[in-house]
Symmetry: C2
Subunit: 343 residues, 2 copies
Amino acid sequence: MTVARTEGTRRGEFDLINSLFAPLARRHPAALNLADDAAVLPPPEGGQHTVVSMDTLVSGVHFLPDDPADLVARKAMRVNLSDMAAMGARPLGVFLSVALSPAEGDAWMDRFTRGLEQDLGAFDVGLLGGDTVATPGPATFSITILGTVPPGTHLSRGGGRPGDHLWVSGTIGDSALGLRALQGDLAFLDEDARASLADRYRLPCPRVALGIGLRGLATAALDISDGLSADLAHLCRASGCAARVSGPAVPLSAPARDCVSADPTWLDVVLGGGDDYELVFAAPPGRDAAIRALGDRLNIPVTRVGALVPAAPEAPDTPLVWVLDGNGAPLTLAATGYRHRWE
Amino acid sequence: MTVARTEGTRRGEFDLINSLFAPLARRHPAALNLADDAAVLPPPEGGQHTVVSMDTLVSGVHFLPDDPADLVARKAMRVNLSDMAAMGARPLGVFLSVALSPAEGDAWMDRFTRGLEQDLGAFDVGLLGGDTVATPGPATFSITILGTVPPGTHLSRGGGRPGDHLWVSGTIGDSALGLRALQGDLAFLDEDARASLADRYRLPCPRVALGIGLRGLATAALDISDGLSADLAHLCRASGCAARVSGPAVPLSAPARDCVSADPTWLDVVLGGGDDYELVFAAPPGRDAAIRALGDRLNIPVTRVGALVPAAPEAPDTPLVWVLDGNGAPLTLAATGYRHRWE
C-alpha cells in the first residue's frame, strides 16, 4: 500500500526484481531466488560469527546525480565491503534496498544492475534479498552486508595500546580531491590527474583481503570514511589513546602531491576530506615486518604513519590526534585556516 | 564525505547515534554498543538458520508526513517484523538506516526513538546497528531484520497444494480504509470508526507468534502488504496453484463492514488495498482443528476463506485468484469498476 505512486518510464517493483535482480541472486541458494519474504541462511561453517553492517547512499549527498549508474552501484557495494574490511570479515552477501525517483528510468537501472553484477562477481558475494520502492526524493540505496569471521578474531576499533604503530593502506585524500575535481576545482592539474582523482571518488577500493590478513596482527582498525584525522580520532577514543601522525609520512598519490605542492592548504582536504575507504590500523612494533610482508603478498601498499601515545585523561580538551611536520612540531597552517588538531 | 550537508536544528550523526540509538543497543551484546563498524553475531543456538529481510519506508509514500514520529518508527519495525512472521521466524534484531530531511528536528527524532524503544521491547528484538545520513528528500527509513528458525521449518510461499484450505489472520482491509479515512474519505462513518481504521493504517500488528506456531502446520504463507488478492496471487504462483476465495467469508471489522454495506465498491479497497500485515496461509484440511486451536491459544483470530485449486497451465491467461459471492459465482461489480479477478 502506498500513499502515492511515483510513475515513470520504469518497470514495476515485481518486474524490477524479476528481470534485473533475481538473475543475480541465483548464485546463492539462501536468496530463495528472491521469491520469498526473506532469505534463509544456514549457520556459517566452523562456528564462525556473522558480521553485519549497513550503509546508505543518497544521490546528491554521497554520489553525484550524473555519476554513471554502474559506478553508483559499485560504490554502494564498496562502501559496505569496506566495513567488512574494517572488521576483518570475509564478505558473504548483501541485501539491497533501492528507492528510485522518476529520474532513474529503465536504462539507468540496467546500467546500475550491470555494475552490481560486476562487483558481486569481483568480490564473490551473493545478492540475498532487498526491496524496491518509489520515492519523490533523490535515489537512495541502502545495503546491508553480511560477512563471517572465526570467533574472537574480528578487528575492533578499541584494541589499540600506547606504543602501537599506526598504519594506513593505499594513498590518502585522492577521493576528497576527486570530488573537488568533479566540482570544477583543481584546474591547475592536467586532465589525466583530475580524472585519476575523480575515479578514486567514484570507485573506492575496499581493502577486504588486507582486513582478513590483519586478523591477529592489528590491535585496532577502521576504514576511512570521514577523513583520516576524524576516523583516527574514533580509533583513539575507542582505544583510550591519543595519536601522533607524521604529516610527511602520510602516503599521497602523485596528483595529490601536486595539489599540496601547489597549495599546502589542500592538505586539509587530504587529511580531513574522507571517502578514502582505505584502512587505518594499529599494531605493536614487533609486527612491523609481518605487516610489510602482508602488504607485499597482497600487493596493497601499507605505510607506517605514526604511533598511538597515552591519552591525557586529566586534560579532556587535549586533542586526540596530532599531525606533526618533518621536525616533529605540530603542523600549523594558521594563515590558511588549516586546523592543526582534530577530534 | 558528503557532496552537500543538509543542515537543520538537529544533532550530528555521531550525536544521534550516541545519544539516541546507543542506549537502545545496550540490550544486545552483538551490537558492540554501535561503537564499531559492524555488529558481530555468534551462530544461532542449536544449528538454527538465520532469516533476513529488508524493508524501506519513505515519508509521503509509505506513511503520511504528519504521522506521529513514534508511530512511524513502530510501523517501520512492524512491517519488517511481519516479514519474520511470514517466514515463521523468531525475530532477533534489526539494523536501522535513517535518512533525515531538514523537517525531522530533534523533537521528532526523540519521539521516533521512543517509538523504536517501545517496539524493540514489545517484540524483544535488539537494535544491532545501522547508520544515519542526511537527505534533501523525504525522510526514509530502511530496516534489515534478522530472525531464526530451526533448519527446514521456515514457511515459504511455494509449498501450497490443491485442496489446501486458505486462511487469513485478523481482519482484512482496515488499513487501506484507514488511509482513506486519513485522506478525508469515509465521512459517512462516525469519528470512532474512522479513528479505529486509521489506527490500523498507522500501526499494523505483525503476527509473529502465529507465524512461529504455523511451522509444521502451514504449507505456504506470506504477509499481506500488497492486498489480499495480490499477495494470494503471489502464493498461488509460487505454489503452482490457483485460489478460490469466498468473498463473504473474508473477515471484516465492524467499521469495514459498515463501509461495504454503505457502498459495495469499498470491497475493492478491502481486498486490493494492502498494508494489512495479516498472514494469509495454506494448510491441508486435516489441520483445520489444529489451526483453530492455535488461533485460540494465541488469541489471534484465524478464518478459513477458501481453498487452493489446480492451476490451469494450459490457459496461462486464466486468473489465479477467484473471489466468489455467496452463491459461488465469481464476484463481479462491473458497473463500479470492481475487478472480479486479479493476478
